[in-house]
Structures are given as C-alpha cells and as structure tokens.
Chain length 245, copies 6
C-alpha cells in the first residue's frame, strides 16, 4: 500500500530533482556559478576583498560571509523588494547567517590569509530549497574564488578542508522524502535542512515541525535520505570543479 | 580516563543547572513568569490582543508570536541597545522566530479563537541558553494567559496540545554535555538546541558545528541527553502551573 | 472641607509610596540596582567603558550618559517594542536626555578620568513616576560603579559632588500632591518633575500644565512638597550605599 | 559693584532683544509669520487639515501639533540635515513636543472642530532662544489660521482661551538675566524656558542647571524676569494680530 | 585624420553592441525577458496586480511602475547590497523613476484597467548602459504581460500606443559615439540617454556634461546617432514579440 | 491665430518672471543668497569645510556638493517633513544630485584646494522651477563663498571657469514657453530643464514628455527659448556679484 503513495512531484521518495551547476556565469566575480535544482535557480558570486572585518583584524586569519536575496518576482506572487522596504526580513537574515556558517565550516580560515570572501546568493527563480541550493552552489563559487587566488599566487596553502553541500528532507503524509520542491514543502509536516561534509559528518541539522511534532524514527529516516542526496551533490561539485580546472 | 574529564562548570555531563520558574512576576500581563536557569534570567510576559494579523483575518483561528530582547547590560560587556541602533540584529530576529514557532507547535490555534498572544521574552541576565530558557518559561507564561482567558469565560476549549520545553546540548572536548552555560557554550565544538514535547517528540532540532563537524554518534548522544533534560523541565512546568492554579 | 478630599491612591498629599532600592540585582554591571517606588520597578545598570565620546576626546574628563526603555508589557496595554519599531519614540529620547543631565549634575566629570559611565534604566513595571525613579535609582547604580572603580584602584579622587534624586509633584482637583502614581498622573491638571541635590538646590524643574495653566501659588506649593520627598529619597540612597559598602 | 557687571550682549539684565513679527510671510499657509528675536529668525507656518489623528477620531475635538527644524546652515557651523541623517535628533523631538504642548494649552480643542492645525517652525537663523521664538511666533501663526477658518465660515466659536508666549531666562556669573542670546546661553550656569499665558499663569517651566545647581532665590528671580518679558511679547502679539485684521 | 580615431571598444562610432532579447526567462512573471547589450545583462520581469496605488483609486485607469537593482557583484568591484544598507541609493531611485516614466509614455493607462504593472529590472552584469537596456527590455516584458492579460480575457482594448526603446550616446575625445560601454562611458566628456518612440519622437532627453560643457553641434550629432540606434532596437523588439506570439 | 493664444500666467512665451537675487540673507554661511523667481523663493547657503569626502582624499582637489529641501508648507498642500518621514524622497535626491553636478561643472576643482563647499538650497515657497532657481541662486552663493576664501587668503587662483545658470522650458497646448510657473508646469505636455554656461554651451539637458512625446522641432524651439532666458539670468548673476563686491 505504501508504495502506492505518490509524491506531489511524482518523484520517488529518495529521488532528487535534476541539478546543474554552471561555472563562470558572470565575468567579474572571482568565483561565479549558476545552480539549478529543478526550477530553483540561484546565482552565486564569490568576491574577494583584501581585508577582514574589524573583529578579526590582526589575527592572521581570513573570513567568509554570505548574503542572500530573492529577486522580487522569483516567486509566484511578487514580493516587496527588500532594498525598497528598507531592511532585510527575518527570513533573509536567518538564511544568510546559515549559508555563511556552512561555508566557513569547510575552510581553514587561518590558511586563507587576511582577506574576506563574500558569497552573494541571489535567487532568480524559487521553487523550494533555495537556501540549500545556495549552500551547494555557493561552495563551488567559493572554491573557484580560492582557485583564482591560488593561480594569482596569493595563496600557497589549500584552505579547503571538506566539500560542503546541503539539501532538504521532510515528512509528508507520514512519508520521509528527499529534496522538497515548493508544492511539497508548502504542505509537509516536517521540513529539515541538512548541511554535510564529504566524510558524512554534520555541519548543520535544522529540523522544524511545521505541523505535528516528529518522532525519533522519522528523524532517523530523514537523516538517512539527506546523507544520500548530499553524497550525490558533492560528487557533482567535484565533477564541475574538475571540468572547470 | 574519560571520567576524569571535568566540565568547566563542574557539573556532571547530564546535569542541568538549577531552574526556577516564578509565576506572576509582573502585574499587568495576562501571563507572566520569571525563569532562572542558573544565572540566566528571562522575564516572559504573555499579552492577549483580541485580533489577529492581517494574513489570518476571517479564518477563525488565533495566532501566537514572540519577541525577544536582551537588556544592554545583561551580558559581561554592554551591548548596544537595539532600539537605539534602529533595528533588531540578525541573532535577535532568528531567536524570536524560533520561540514563536516552538510555542505555536504546542497549541491548537483554531481553538484559540480570533486573538493573538504575544510572548515577550526579555533577558535580564544572560549566562548561556537564553533562547531555550525563553521557550521553557514562555510556554508557562502562555499557559497562564490561556488560563486567564478561560477564567474570564472567553475560551471554553483547552487549546494546549502538548507541553513544550527546550534545552541546549553540545559537544565539548569530544564529550556530549547537557545545558551549556556561557563558559562552556563559548568553547564547545558543537551546540544544539532542542525543543520537544511531553510525549518525547521533536519540534525543533538545531545543531551547528562551531568547530569540527560532528558525527552521527555524537548527534545520537546529544539527542539522548536533551530528551532527559527536557523531561525534567516539563515536570517543573507542570508543578508550577498546578501550584499557581 | 478640603481635608475631606481624598487622593485616588488614598495616600496623604505629602505621602510617598514605599520605596525600595535593591543593590547588586544583576551580576555583570559595575553598579546595579532595582528600584521600586510602589508598583513602579526600574532596573538600573551602570556600565563603565574606558573611552569617551568623540566630542570629549583628549580633554581629560569623563562622561555620564543614560538610556531608558520600557519593556513592552510593563504597562496595562502592551506597547510596541522600540527595537522592532526601528526607533526610540520622542518620549523615550526626552526622558533619557533628562536622566543623563540629572546624573551628570551630581558628578565632577574632570575627576572621573577619560571614561564613560552609561546608566541603563529599564522599566520592568510602570505605575507612574518611571523617569524620577530612574534618576533616583540610577544615581545609586552610578555611585556603585564609581565605588567599583575606586576599589579597583582606577580612581583616587571622589568625583561625586552631590547626591541627586527626583520625584514628581502635581496638582489634582486643585490640591498639590507628592509622588503621583498612574491613576493620579493620568488625571492631574499639572505634572512636575523635580531633580534636586542633598543641599536642596535644583538641577531640573519641569512643570507642565496638562489641563489649566497653574498659578504661582500652586508652583510654590509643589516645590515645597517636592523638596520634602527628595530629602526622604536621598536619605534612603545614603542608607543603601552605606549598607552595601 | 553689581551694577558694574556687564552681560556679554551689553543689554540690561531685564532687557529683551528687539522682536519683530511679520505676518503673511508665505502665501500658501493658512497662517504664516516670520519672527525675529535679535538675529534669531524662525518661519512659522500653520496648516489646517480637515481630519484628526487616529487616537482622536470621533471624539468631536480638534488637534494642534508642531514640527521644528533648523536649516543646516542656520548655525555657525553647518549641521547635518536631519532628512539626510534619516531621523530627527533627540533635541528636535524634545523641542517640537514642547511647542505642541504649549500651543494646545492656549486653545479649547473642543471648539476647534475635528481638524488638525500643524505649526511648522523652521529656523532660518539661530542665535539662541529658537524654541521660545517658535512658540511666540507659532502662536500668532496659529491665531491667523484660526482667523482664516472663521472668515471661511468654518468656525463660529472662538477657540482661543489665552495668548501664549515664551522666553528664556538664566543665571550667568550669578546674575539672573532675560532672553539669552547664543553668546550668553552657551556659558550660563542655568537656562530656563518659560511659557506663560496673558493672565500670568504657567504652561511650562523648564529649568536646567547646566553648571552648578540653582537655589530657590535664583529660581524666584528668574521667574520674575520671565513674567516681565512674556508680558511684552504678548502685547506685541496682540498688536500684530490687530494690525493684520 | 578623423577616420583614424578609434573608439576604445573598437566599434564604429555609429555601431551598437550585439543585442539579444530572450523572452520567457523566468516562469512566474506575466512578462519576462533577459536582455543582453554586449556584456550588460538585465533581467526584466513584469508583474500584474489587480489594484492601483492610493492616488489613482477610483479613477478608472491603470498604473505602470518600475524598480531597478544591481546585484552586488554585477560590477567589477563588489557594491554593498542596498537591502543590507537599508535604503536605495540616489542613483537607483533616479534610474527607476526614469524607467517608470519611459514605460508609461508608451501606454494608454486608461485602457489598462484598474491594475498595476510593476517592471522589475535587475542587473545581473553591468558593462555600461544598464538603464537604457532596462527600458528597452522592460518594454518587451511589459508588452508580454499585456499580452498575458489579453489572452486571459482581462483586456479587450490594446493599450500600447508606441514602442519605446532607449540607448546612450556620448562625446569622447570630441567624437560623437553611439551605445557607450563601460570603458567608454567612464571617460566620455558627455553622456546622454535618449528614450524615443517608433515614430521618432522623444520621451526623455537626458544629457550631462561630465567634463567640458557640450555645444549645440555636438548635441545635434548625438541626437542623430541616438535616433539611428533606437530604430534598430525597436525593430528587434518587434521581431522578438512576433516570434514569441 | 497663434498670437491669440495666452499662457495661463499671462506672460509672453519668451518672458521670464521677475527675478531677484538678495546676497547676504543669512549671517553665518560663507556665501548666502535668497533667490526669488516670481513667487518661488529659495534660500541658498554655501558652507566651506576644510576636508574632502573619503573618495577624494589625497588627490589634491576640492569638492562641491548640494542638498535640497522643501519646507513642509512651501507648497499649496502641506507635505510631510522628510526628516520626520525618515528619508529623503526620490525627487529630492534626484534634484540635489542635479544641482551638485551643475555647480561642479562651473568650477575647476583642482584649483579649489582640498576643501568641500556644500550648497544648501531650501525652498521657502514653491511656485514652479525650484530646481532651476536653486542652481541659479546656488551658483551665486558658491561664488560668494569662493570670494570669502579668496579674501581670507586661502585661495590664490580663481577656480570659477564659467557662470552657470538654469531655467525651465516647456510645451503647452503645442506652444513652446519659457520659465514655467506652477499653473503652467502642472499641465504642460513637455517639461525641460536646461543648465548652461555663459558661453552658451550645455551642462544639462533634461527633457521629459509628461503627455505626448515631443518632436525634434519642438525640442529645437525649447532649446532656443532656454538659451535666451539663461543669458538674462547670467547677466543678473554678474550684476549682483559686482554690486556685492
């Protein structure tokens, strides 16, 4: 009976949407990537600045930070432009803090030198999973920017410690599923974002019961699905970086 | 050897700080509580308004929201007052969204009627774990406000579905520990906030690797410690509410 | 006939509410006091920073400033949180400027050294007279912070020139009264805040006709009542500081 | 000996600067006045709107409010434009609240009808006493706007209860003086603003010790000087209004 | 000799960069276009809302407005994100007002019905001429949104009056040139933006002497070049709209 | 027939309003002018500061910038005060950028030395053409401030390159007219602002079709009228500066 259940998207419970990572999408950024996860499209640009924020000055280490934004009509209904509203909303702030933490966890900041890499993640089109797409794509943009520094002779050490990627998992009608798109995300009981490394350890686990609380069994099933999806994403990241070398 | 390891606080790995919940701390709020978790002190005031936000109007349900603030000198070094800075910082926004989600998860909003309960959580003194103390204390303030509505004849149904409480767990020097105070929190490798119900299900799981990524085994150990602590907190919530009846 | 008239509070015209000043209310601030004037409760924390604002740099003197805030549910109806509104209201700004001026008037800033003491006055519960309670309690917090500096060997001179305390007086139904609580303040014809020293001189006289203008006779009667009340408050300040020594 | 003491301005202690009130300075406002007090020049425009603020709707009364601003180069050193700084400073807010309260005290708001009169007081040139000049000139602008309403047949009753005018007094080198200009104001020990009616009663008494606290005797001397000056100002207001009739 | 002079871009003085207009770039907007003018790329999304701004309510006509933004790394050096800065800069505001005026000039607003079309123009990559590209592309997005309304049966009349397109012209080393890219724009003596219709009339003429003032002869030469370029752009707009039909 | 057509103002098509430029209007500014163009009155104050903005530091040149504001009741209906609204509107920003560019175009900034001149243009009364009046009057204020610098021995070179003045032209009922006042401006089909030098070259040409697009012939007619008016304004500027010498 359970196998008769169908995800709204028609995908298998452990099936991700098609993912594409297009390097070099813009010409100015030290690292630039357009990532598509199904219809979700996020432009990730990594910019290098040769200075660190005040709280790090003189400590011989670098910094990585992220900013996130959605274009007003990246969604079904036009949202107010945050620049015009005069501030970034709570959701935006929360997401960009998450992206920044996730990217920093993959890098040895002391090997980066006294510089800052800012990864701008701008959503051109949103269909669920924009924050995890931003982390997965943003990591490639970051790696490309680091490569630019290395090729420019500004960096001798390799500061990357782990590959970092992210996906979402959830529970819908009692079924654990991988990589929720909007039509699923909006009705799921539980939504969880996972950020993991290439050695299957966790950087972030953020699960929220939107409807009923979730049990330990459901949590375990989601963690297993997530590990699967992230392994696929990291394989793709590596292939893209190798091809772009 | 491992048993020789000492937490900076001197507590056992699974030992919480002393917790007190003092109901009726202020006289105006429909529900008011001062919660102390060790030296962390949060004043939680629940206010009832007989209307709902625009996005819920005419839908026959209520709303619960939270706001969070820290007094400027609740911390070791004075922080800038957010009202004077002209906006709430990213951390504040993130925390108050978490508290609001956590409290809503314990209540059937359709049984609340078309009204809003706002739970203000103001930190008088911070020594680690202010957001989880705010959730644990805020839930009692919310329950007291609902009781005020019931005694005033404005509510016949009991809208509370589950007790909700929260605590933090972490990994420090490779050891999983429960209820981190500031001197521990500031050096832990991993910090995880758990929000759970009285039937041991999860409302929020928010784990972040501050240093090294954490393994599945460490995750499991933290979840076990957290369940333990939250059971204690919910027992205290129930005792306080009964005594205040 | 006049003796038959009753204040709404039931107190005698020259009778203050019970006042308590509890030193050491929080553990981080260099000087901390919770002052209660009847049901009005204000937490006053004095913080020392070893620098002065730009306009005083290099002039060999210190600075004292104050900030004032009300918790959203310190009042009968919940007020909007100023941090969330994005700015401090006019009343807040006016009050914190008054508190700062009043506290500075009691101290020889040249003997304070090049440092700033910020006195945060946060109203936990408001029942009239919050600004005068903030001055009276804030002065004790300031004195405790100065004592902390002296004990730390950072200050040899005694910078305090006068004790400073404040109270409100008013005219209600034509009767001058001392220390108005909310049920009186909200209907008084005239409301006057007085800040005075321990040698009965004036630092601030702020009288406002809320209804009819007030005569010179009424002004004189209010000034006399205020001097009485402030003498009591300064006696209490001195007792508290001595007991805490 | 005392008669040898000279005010910095060269005026006698009880001598005001020359005052001019020029009605009809701009053509759009319902009431418009340029007031000069010595070199202090304030443009006061009273605007009528046929509605009241939300908190007064349906209560059958009107409202009077004021706004205050200084042109950036009205002072010796250019100040930052508040519109460009993004907010009104604390001093501005405090002053415009004072002007509003003072003007309202002269008018029976129930006889004004459900309309708002906003009095904009913009300082073209500042040489001390801008807030009291704004009140004195603003009252004439307000009276002219009320006359416009009466001539337009929109108001039958006469809503003005008292003439309202204001001046500053102070203590300098121990000498009480009337109407301080900038070179005096900036060095006075005490600065007091008085707002009074044409029957010599008080609307506002705002005295501040800038240096040493002031005694009861000094307070009495300042009150006497102020009453003198305000009587002159009210005589001028009446003459201007009669001439403009 | 003059023919020996070379534009920095290597183009002929009257030669535009290659222009592409890609309709349907995003899936949600009622009209969506990605326009590329050389390396300048602007995403133009037109959104329909079934209401008009307050100042037009009940007047039986529609409204067209535009918003403009640059992604932080659309330029050679990363710019601060306006949403994070808390406001739109002066240049942004000026440009989006220009785009809005230009688009409105091509449409009969009374035939649009009581609805608003907002055209968001977001610069993905900037290489000179972003505002004129936004107008040229934005007009196609607008026309597509109007077509969506017509096909949905919500609009019977054809509200478009003229095609509207824009380009820049300038004077560099004394030579009038068409369609300046960044390496030209940044050193030109004069920069002029022209917005014109398909019957060669003017909607906007905005010429600015960046260096030396320009003569009437130079003005005439620039106007002629601009008319040429705009005719080409309008031909392309028409071809794109026909192909997309 | 055409000669029967009447401008709403009653003036001839090429007739300007009476213009007056009153130097020394305020006493503090290094250059101060009140300009009246008909009923439009703008106070222009030029302030000198001995430093340049960060982007010019160490480059051995000066800077000229402008700010623009309208008093709330400078117009027929009271506008909201921008300082109270918390930001400058789009129109204000656009205008002050235009004034700044126009004034800079008349001056050799390298001969100004490392200092900034800020020209504040505050509209006391608005009747059309405030931005062009601000440029024409602002240039005289600027020239007076430069003279103050020269007389103070701080400037040996003469940094002024050209006189700069501005006027508006338009098309109304098909007729080109010079210097539009409000009753004309509000109904004109086309509105164009011209900024020119004393050798008849252009600094800014800003023409906007408010109704129908305008033809090349209309553009030529407007340019001719504008050149005429600006020549008159520059003659007046020179006369005023000579008389004030």
């Amino acid at each position: 009976m359970s196998e008769q259940w169908q995800r709204p998207s028609g995908r298998a419970p452990d099936e991700m949407r098609p993912v594409q990572i297009e390097p070099g999408y813009t010409k100015y950024a030290e690292g630039s990537v357009l990532i598509s996860v199904g219809d979700t499209r996020v432009l990730c640009n990594a910019s290098v600045e040769e200075r660190v924020p005040p709280f790090l000055q003189g400590q011989g280490q670098g910094w990585i930070t992220a900013e996130y934004g959605m274009l007003p009509r990246s969604t079904g209904t036009r949202m107010r432009r945050e620049a015009s509203a005069g501030k970034q909303g709570g959701r935006t702030v929360e997401i960009q803090r998450l992206i920044g933490r996730a990217l920093r966890a993959g890098v040895d900041l002391t090997r980066l030198g006294e510089r800052t890499i800012t990864v701008d993640c701008d959503v051109l089109q949103a269909d669920g999973g924009t924050r995890t797409a931003a982390i997965t794509g943003g990591f490639v943009a970051l790696a490309l920017a680091i490569r630019t520094l290395q090729r420019g002779g500004k960096l001798s050490d390799a500061p990357i410690l782990h590959h970092v990627a992210a996906t979402s998992v959830g529970v819908l009608d009692g079924h654990p599923i991988l990589d929720l798109e909007y039509c699923e995300d909006s009705i799921a009981e539980t939504d969880m974002n996972l950020v993991m490394t290439d050695d299957s350890r966790f950087i972030e686990v953020q699960g929220t019961a939107e409807g009923a609380p979730f049990s330990r069994d459901e949590l375990d099933a989601m963690l297993a699905l997530g590990a699967l999806g992230i392994a696929e994403l990291i394989a793709l990241q590596k292939a893209v970086l190798e091809a772009a070398a």
